[in-house]
């Protein structure tokens, strides 16, 4: 029984990683950049929801919407100001700029909210589910997180494959120049990608803070890195890959914490990443790109 409960908790944590990783992978697929500030957008989402709920007294649905709106605006703003001027520059320069944005967001949060952790009230009001005569308890947060994770992945896949905007995203990620010639608004599409990715980060932030209710300016840093790992594990640029990578990472982390060593869980997770990449250098679902002379 305890195994199933560890597994479910792992899937729940993995769903959060998966939602963040979806944002990472979409941005990478289109802008070909590692957006290191993605984890910090998650943190901003957490603070925005906290403010809306505790300070402004908005209800839960309105708080979630408020947080998503703030993150979307922030994501688009960051793209406009910091990344757009560097679109044709060296990829390392973009990486460093993203790191700068990450520092900026963390320190802004530190100034505005202080270093003391805020205790986040869970947004999930579902009672825990008791199965097998009370031996297996599944918390409401776990269930909601898993459901939201699946929902987000399905909606995102439908959006990309069934709508014009989604097709435009695919076209831009395939070939920017050709997409421009076909009349696709490249700048708008990239902005839309950042907007969706940031809104997803806000959802992930709320779910993460509901399950682990402490909120500090560095809340987003480690989940951000883990989600990045998940995106690479699944094959960066691939949406189903990011989802599978996220779930796999969460389950691995929770099971190794429970059965091997709580101290070494990070080392185990990262080792698995390395082994997977050695066997399949472009990730689980990644495409293999041939290099031409």
């Amino acid at each position: 029984m305890s195994f199933i409960s560890y597994l479910l908790n792992g899937i729940s944590l993995g769903s959060v990683y998966a939602i963040i990783a979806l944002g990472y992978t979409m941005v990478y697929g289109i802008a070909k950049m590692l957006n290191f500030a993605h984890g910090d957008i998650l943190m901003v989402g957490g603070y925005a929801a906290f403010l809306a709920f505790n300070q402004m007294g908005l209800g839960i649905p309105l708080s979630i919407l408020f947080s998503m709106a703030i993150c979307t605006a922030l994501g688009v703003l960051v793209e406009r100001v910091a990344y757009k001027p560097l679109r044709s520059a060296n990829s390392l320069a973009v990486l460093i700029t993203a790191i700068g944005v990450s520092y900026l967001l963390q320190n802004l949060a530190l100034l505005l909210f202080g270093a003391n952790p805020k205790s986040f009230q869970s947004f999930v009001k579902l009672p825990a589910l008791k199965l097998a005569g009370g031996q297996l308890v599944i918390s409401g947060e776990t269930m909601v997180t898993i459901l939201v994770g699946i929902l987000v992945a399905v909606v995102l896949l439908l959006f990309i494959h069934k709508t014009r905007a989604g097709q435009a995203m695919l076209a831009v990620s395939e070939d920017k120049g050709a997409a421009t010639l076909m009349g696709v608004n490249v700048n708008g599409t990239i902005a839309l990608t950042f907007a969706i990715g940031s809104a997803l980060a806000s959802v992930a932030g709320i779910l993460l803070c509901s399950a682990y209710p402490t909120l500090t300016p560095t809340t987003g840093a480690m989940p951000g890195i883990k989600a990045f790992v998940a995106a690479v594990l699944g094959g960066i640029g691939s949406i189903p890959g990011a989802f599978i990578g996220g779930i796999l990472l969460g389950v691995l982390e929770n099971l190794s914490k429970a059965y091997i060593s709580s101290k070494l869980s990070d080392a185990i997770v990262f080792s698995v990443l390395i082994i997977v990449l050695l066997i399949k250098p472009s990730g689980i679902l990644g495409k293999k790109i041939m290099e031409k002379v």
Binding site: P85, A93, L104, V232, K263, A267
Partner: protein, 352 residues
């Protein structure tokens, strides 16, 4: 011919002379007692970060691979060398000899880890290489945080579980105590040692770059397929470069370990944030430019300290400066703007 000679002398002066002159100027200030204790505490870290920056530049600039795990090699060098000097501390060897042995152990261990990690990692490319090196850095930090290492009459004892699993006999002492790390490392590092090590690293790297091997590495960076077609062993040379870079990062780790009396593997000093910081020095200083790396390391280490009077705002300003500098040096729009202004100024001079 004369011009080439002149350039060479100028190069040597800029590489080593400036560092030496700065060293003597700082020594003068130290003698006159006009250096605050805060600045004194920064002198060794400045050397450490400069060494780290030039060693990473060897990988990023010369061999053209992105590594985000450099702090991991520094961590290996620091812990191996500190364990070594802890083991030798009670013996009758002179301190300088102990430090020298620790230095060799630190550099060799870090180089060895670089070699081990390099074999699989250098098969990957670009962003994948970046994430795997990041993962390696985190693994090293994580394992050292869980490692217990003690020594007693019966020899060495290790455990990855907890302290009680290592049953130390009478007179035994802890070397590495899990997350508490190493306490009581002798303080062998000082500014002079730091500058000597920096100059030696610089000398070594400059010679490596201009050697036959170094040129071959750069040829592989510029076009791997073309380089392989003239029988350059690409993987071997990249691995060599990675190993050397790791060993030099290990030397920086040795300096770090012997500068403070306690050594812990915290995210702050050996985590991915530190690796990223080193990468920032390299990119901001100019990829492949060793002098630029040192300059960026010095400026960016001093900047937060100089802004200390601004308290809470200092890291904020640091972040803004970082973004603006990157935009200014790399964005095509800004470059065009800059050149436009320079062009106009230049033209005016000609007209006048």
């Amino acid at each position: 011919m004369k011009n080439v000679q002149k350039n060479k002398i100028k190069d040597i002066f800029l590489n080593y002379g400036v560092i030496l002159i700065l060293y003597f100027v700082v020594q003068l200030f130290l003698k006159s007692g006009s250096v605050s204790s805060l600045m004194k505490g920064l002198l060794v870290p400045l050397c450490i970060y400069s060494i780290l920056a030039i060693s990473l530049n060897l990988v990023v600039g010369i061999s053209g691979e992105l590594s985000l795990g450099h702090a991991g090699f520094m961590c290996v060098g620091a812990f191996f060398s500190a364990s070594c000097s802890m083991l030798l501390k009670g013996s009758s060897l002179p301190p300088m000899l102990i430090f020298f042995i620790a230095l060799c152990i630190g550099a060799i261990s870090a180089g060895f880890f670089g070699f081990l990690i390099g074999i699989p990692v250098l098969r990957l490319k670009g962003d994948y290489l970046a994430i795997v090196t990041l993962a390696f850095g985190e693994i090293i930090k994580n394992i050292i945080n869980a490692l217990y290492f003690g020594v007693d009459k019966n020899g060495w004892h290790f455990s990855l579980k907890d302290g009680t699993a290592v049953a130390l006999g009478e007179g035994g002492k802890w070397i590495i105590k899990g997350a508490q790390g190493i306490t009581g490392t002798p303080k062998y590092s000082n500014f002079t040692v730091g500058i000597i090590l920096l100059l030696l690293s610089m000398l070594f790297i400059q010679h490596f770059i201009h050697s036959r091997t170094g040129r071959a590495v750069m040829a592989i960076r510029d076009n791997r397929i073309a380089a392989e077609s003239i029988a350059l062993p690409a993987s071997k040379l990249k691995l060599l470069c990675f190993t050397i870079s790791a060993a030099i990062a290990g030397i920086a780790g040795v300096l770090y370990a012997h500068n403070l009396s306690s050594l812990q593997a915290l995210p702050k000093n050996f985590g991915y944030n530190q690796s990223i910081m080193i990468l920032v020095f390299v990119v901001l200083g100019g990829i492949g430019n060793m002098r630029g790396s040192i300059l960026a390391a010095v400026v960016l280490t001093l900047l937060p300290e100089l802004l200390r009077s601004l308290n809470d705002y200092r890291m904020l300003i640091y972040a803004v400066v970082l973004i603006v500098m990157m935009l200014f040096t790399s964005a095509p729009g800004f470059i065009a703007f800059r050149e436009n202004i320079l062009h106009r100024l230049f033209r005016k001079e000609v007209n006048a």
